[in-house]
């Protein structure tokens, strides 16, 4: 069995599962946020159930439109706050919260071998820790909150092998953009992606979160990594719960195996309006930008801010550009403060925000006007994603976003270092 199949088999009390089978899976964690939970709560009430199946395994996080950007968003945030109090579930208020997919692993709420279902498509992020995590809609999550389980079709697994050593300034974002560019936005539709190889072994845990996060951008159900020393180091001090590090069988069956030599890979950029519209930065450099966003569940972790600060320290954001930096959680924010990262970014002329999904989905904290163009470390560049349907988003890693902020156009960090 593959990594995904092993975890799923263990969560439906079976010795073996095969791709295509419909199974009922026990969930170790069921999560929703300020835009998906209101509908989940409405459907939960319709079920006629009084209490969630286990309050310690149900999480709600306000993160998309908070601190509330307008009255309607405040009402939605209030709705989930009230529900969380009523049910005694796990809840993080503004001031304690972070972007859900940055926060949950930090708090030790997701461990290797676990199954997480959540009403957010980027739930697949937790695959970085060797968990099977997948996004669903609000009704699915309402039912999972009531029963503690959910139906799933066992996905086939596609294996991705990355050979070679990465060049400076190249990280997880570049690997996953390159991969999506190769296979397309539905290249892994319904499948689990399993990421392995020398370049993966060397990748910091943050880079793995970034890669797993964007598995959905290839249509995947999950994106998984094996547990190694880096995973265990990350988990140290975050949990006292036991966990299982599953290993795929030697004779595991894969739908396909893709092998890439990434030793000469340049930083990658996805041009509007699909995450698969990918080119090396050298082919897109020169495109003028109005805004650079560094943050999100994709690239809002400490290592991402370190890279941004490395480029921006002692330099100035281009006078025509707004550079918006959003630490993914309070922990990231605090550690970035202590390391002097925040100070360097503010000196450079960036604005630094409290954790929020904000501009990634055109919510607040940097919405684009008609005709404006952004380079962003977020995950989607669909029409209207960050604001006006006549604006444009180029996706990139933090190094390219920071270099572009300085030069006022899409740029490689090599150009200024």
């Amino acid at each position: 069995m593959t990594l995904a199949e092993k975890i799923l088999a263990a969560h439906c009390s079976r010795d073996k599962v095969s791709p295509g089978e419909l199974i009922n899976v026990r969930a170790d964690l069921v999560m929703s946020n300020d835009i998906t939970a209101p509908i989940a709560i409405r459907e939960f009430r319709r079920l006629g159930v009084k209490r969630v199946f286990d309050p310690s395994k149900v999480v709600m996080i306000p993160d998309h439109f908070v601190p509330a950007k307008d009255i309607e968003s405040a009402e939605q945030a209030k709705l989930i706050r009230d529900f969380a109090r009523e049910q005694g579930i796990v809840y993080f208020e503004v001031g304690a919260m972070g972007i859900e997919h940055v926060l949950l692993p930090e708090k030790g709420l997701v461990l290797p071998g676990e199954v997480v279902v959540a009403a957010d498509s980027h739930t697949c992020t937790y695959g970085a820790l060797g968990a099977f995590a997948t996004g669903m809609g609000s009704t699915d999550i309402a039912c999972a909150m009531a029963t503690g389980d959910i139906w799933m079709r066992v996905p086939p697994t596609i294996k991705f092998v990355y050979h070679g050593r990465l060049q400076p300034w190249v990280g997880g974002k570049d690997l996953i953009l390159y991969t999506i560019g190769q296979i397309g936005v539905d290249g892994a539709r319904y499948a689990a992606m399993e990421f392995v190889g020398e370049a993966i072994d060397a990748l910091p845990i943050e880079g793995r979160f970034t890669m797993a996060n964007m598995a959905i951008e290839a249509g995947a159900k999950a994106g998984l990594f094996r547990v190694d020393r880096k995973t265990r180091t990350y988990l140290k001090g975050r949990t006292s719960r036991p966990y299982t590090a599953y290993v795929p069988d030697r004779d595991a069956q894969y739908l396909a195996v893709h092998e890439y030599d990434v030793s000469s890979l340049e930083p990658q950029v996805a041009a509007p309006h699909l995450p698969s519209n990918v080119a090396p930065v050298s082919q897109v450099k020169g495109v003028e930008i109005d805004q650079a966003v560094i943050g999100s569940c994709t690239n809002g972790r400490l290592e991402d801010l370190r890279v941004a600060a490395q480029v921006l320290r002692g330099r100035q954001v281009h006078p025509r550009v707004r550079c918006v930096v959003i630490p993914g959680s309070q922990e990231v924010y605090l550690r970035a403060l202590r390391e002097g990262i925040i100070e360097a970014l503010v000196w450079a002329g960036a604005v630094v925000s409290t954790p929020t999904c904000g501009p990634c989905l055109g919510g607040h904290m940097g919405v684009l006007a008609m005709g404006e163009r952004a380079v962003s470390t977020t995950n989607r560049n669909f029409v209207g994603r960050m604001g006006s349907p006549k604006s444009e988003v180029y996706l990139a890693g933090p190094a390219v976003a920071a270099a572009s902020a300085v030069l006022g156009r899409i740029a490689s960090p090599e150009e200024i270092s």
């Binding site: 419909l22 439109f65 009403a119 669903m136 539709r189 055109g362 669909f382 029409v383």
Partner: protein, 169 residues
């Protein structure tokens, strides 16, 4: 059950951000969401759409975010059914969960144009283009999913389950 309606024809990778832009996710009421359905992709959709109409699209319909607001908005705007070459998996779940019929049919999109009249038989999976007098066959649902659909969606299905069995421990 047979559904009949005019076709709204779209291409590949129709994402949830264009089905219902995130700027409206501060709402969750179906009627409010319906007011903005498809506006970033097709400004005329809301002027044109009539109750019972059918969307026909190519591959990977509904890709992107998990927002259930997307099928809710389409259903509330009057769409009775979606036919596509393929669907993104979360959209597929969401549509079945809320009782919006969706059908996968490889050759239907190439045989349908904007404004054609379509008749869809949900039981047999037969898709009839009444304007062009052509017939297409949708992929059958697995039995479990048919059970979900016949129950009236996941909430009704789960209600029955809860009435008969224990919850997970």
């Amino acid at each position: 059950m047979k559904l009949t309606g005019k076709v709204h024809r779209y291409g590949t990778n129709v994402d949830t951000d264009v089905i219902i832009p995130a700027r409206y996710l501060k709402f969750s009421e179906p009627a409010e969401l319906a007011k903005h359905c498809m506006e970033d992709l097709d400004a005329d959709f809301l002027k044109r759409v009539r109750p019972g109409d059918i969307i026909v699209a190519e591959s990977n319909f509904g890709c992107g975010s998990s927002r259930e607001h997307a099928p809710i908005a389409l259903k509330a705007a009057g769409i009775s059914c979606i036919v596509a070459t393929s669907f993104a998996r979360i959209f597929f779940r969401n549509a079945i969960d809320i009782g919006l019929p969706i059908l996968e049919a490889d050759d239907a999109p190439s045989g349908c144009q904007m404004g054609d009249t379509l008749e869809v038989d949900l039981e047999s999976g037969e898709i009839r283009n009444l304007t062009r007098d052509t017939v297409f066959k949708a992929k059958p649902y697995p039995p479990f999913m048919m059970e979900l659909i016949q129950a009236g969606g996941l909430v009704e299905y789960t209600k029955r389950r809860l009435a008969t069995g224990p919850r997970a421990q």
